[in-house]
Amino acid sequence: MRKSAFRSLEKQRSRWGWIFLAPWLLGIAVFFLWPMIQTGIYSFSKLVVGADGFEANPVGFENYLHFFTKDSYFLNNLVTSLLETIPSTLLIITFSTMIALVLRAEFPMRGLARAVFFLPVIIASGPVISILENQVMMNGSVGAETTTYLFQAPDLTLVFADLGVPEKILESITSIINEIFDLMWKSGVQILLMLAALNTIPGSFYEVAMMEGATAWEKFWKITLPTLSPTLVVVIIYTLIDGFTDYDNLIIQTINSYYTDNNYAYSATVGMIYCICVLAVVGLVSWIMSRVAFYSSE
């Protein structure tokens, strides 16, 4: 008797669960799963614009064959974009960790400093920054300058050139500096996530470490980093996804350019291949990271 009452309670509860999930189930089916299936179908067909919308004529693996055997431009871009994301992810992680560590401490004007560092979050996700980067800062100040970097360090370069530093080394240094600028603008959300995680580390950990006479260096490697590692997993994956879906990403640009060329089927093929690559990379990274990361509850 009691058991059956309990079971009906469970049943009632799970009914409520479905009520909470209902809008999402409908939405995800209609606006995500169905379009994904359509994209899959498109990628195996040739699209003809008929009287009522598209007509898809199946062509088997033709689009995929074309991609892997003839479209070397795209294949190269895919490899470059995958390879470029890795070093920039590493740099973003290092950066956001450093800045979060600095911003965590109490110091005068901390509120202002935080407000400044989160500004990129507000602006960097829009078209404005890329317009500034590619159209304003290039032409505006120095007419002859043609690099697309946001931040130029000409004075610095001159100083080092006077000191007799070889040009090759100088070039690589300035390109790193210029990269840093872009990366700084991409790490707003990551700084937020790291700060949130830093605040969850119990102060007692550090008190114990201080009693034992640990240096700041040891505290970082033995306490901060291990406790941060689950967040690092989240941040790394977020950064990867952000890099892969960025509007400046070559592949996304190419996919979008096929829309305007009315070659939808091929765009769908490229999209499918790209999705699979991204899933593979993200899956691999999260698998590796979950081995390395330290979960205190286990």
Binding site: W16, G17, W18, I19, F20, L21, W24, L26, I28, V30, F31, F32, W34, P35, M36, Q38, T39, Y42, V102, A105, G111, R114, A115, V116, F117, L119, V121, I122, I123, S125, G126, P127, V128, L132, E133, Q135, V136, M137, G140, S141, G143, F151, F181, M184, W185, L192, L193, L195, A196, N199, P230, I241, T245, I252, I255, N256, Y259, Y264, S267, L279
Partner: protein
């Protein structure tokens, strides 16, 4: 006090000053890097062509020059575009936040058969770039006769598939999971059904998380231009309007001069674009300045992390 202890204290004092100094230099450097494009944008939007060419004028223009802003206003049809933005973005944000909180509770607190699969689907939705499936969405919206209307975005926001909805559901779910189970048990004993528990106990307790998600949602809707540009045909919001300012300027200038654009016009073009960028980011930055204190505090307390 003996000498060794004194020297230790002295050393600690020095370290503190040194650390403060390093921190200040580091923050100033990184802060400069962060603010550089914004300062550049503000300064060049006020510059006239002669100011830009004048080597003695570096950051501060010689006078307030509103010409660039006038041009940018006209080119973007700013008033209209701002109205379109508000009409699109505000309802979307409201619907998205409400639906995400509602759905996230379903993910966080109910043991349902097949929930792990649904959760995997949610993660999948976060990962896949929307550019990969936007064409079928376009076709679907045309068939539903919703294309070019604002309703298509409202509907997507309402059903938990708006811009980055999956990410917000994930964030809020993490937050619900950190709340003690006893709260809900107490509410149950007092005779609340799950909906009442959700509304009266759970939601009031995650206000800061809701604020954080609202700001993120506002920012991403305000800044989105690929989806709005794809599914709308006219009545563009600011984020889409600004992407065409450069090309419009180019064609206008070519039409006026009938030849390749001169260096002076190039400078003018850049200044007008800077002004356009400034008036586009101004509204969202104002909102951010108003809520930023609660926002940063909120996100720290959420422990968004796993």
């Amino acid at each position: 006090m003996d000498w060794s202890r004194r020297s230790v204290l002295y050393k600690r004092h020095l370290l503190r000053i040194g650390g403060g100094l390093i921190r200040t230099v580091f923050l100033l450097g990184v802060g400069y890097v962060t603010l550089y494009p914004l300062l550049f944008m503000i300064s060049s939007s006020f510059m006239s062509v002669s100011d830009t060419l004048d080597a003695t004028v570096v950051w501060l223009p010689t006078g307030m020059n509103w010409f660039n802003f006038q041009k940018a206003f006209d080119l973007m049809n700013y008033g209209e575009a701002l109205k379109n933005t508000l009409v699109l973005v505000l309802p979307c944000v409201a619907l998205q936040v409400v639906s995400c909180v509602f759905i996230a509770y379903g993910f966080a607190r109910f043991k349902l058969p097949g929930l792990p699969i649904l959760f995997a689907l949610l993660l999948f939705n976060i990962i896949v770039p929307s550019d990969c499936y936007i064409i079928p969405v376009y076709v679907l919206m045309s068939e539903l006769k919703l294309i070019n209307t604002v309703w298509q975005f409202y509907i997507q926001a309402l059903f938990g598939v708006g811009i980055r909805s999956a990410l917000y559901i994930f964030i809020i779910r993490q937050f619900f999971r950190t709340m003690p189970k006893e709260l809900e048990e107490a509410a149950f004993i007092d005779g609340c059904n799950p909906l009442q528990t959700f509304l009266r106990v759970m939601v009031p307790n995650i206000k800061s998380a809701i604020l954080t998600v609202s700001v993120l949602s506002l920012v991403w809707y305000y800044n989105d231009f690929s989806m709005f540009g794809m599914l709308l045909n006219g009545n563009y919001p600011l984020s889409v309007a600004i992407t065409s300012v450069g090309t419009t300027l180019d064609s206008n200038m070519q039409y006026l001069t009938g030849q390749a654009i001169s260096a002076d016009l190039k400078i003018l073009r850049a200044s007008i674009l800077a002004a356009a960028c400034l008036i586009v980011v101004l509204p969202i930055t104002a909102v951010y300045v108003l809520v930023q204190k609660h926002f940063t505090e909120g996100i720290e307390r959420t422990g968004i992390v796993g």
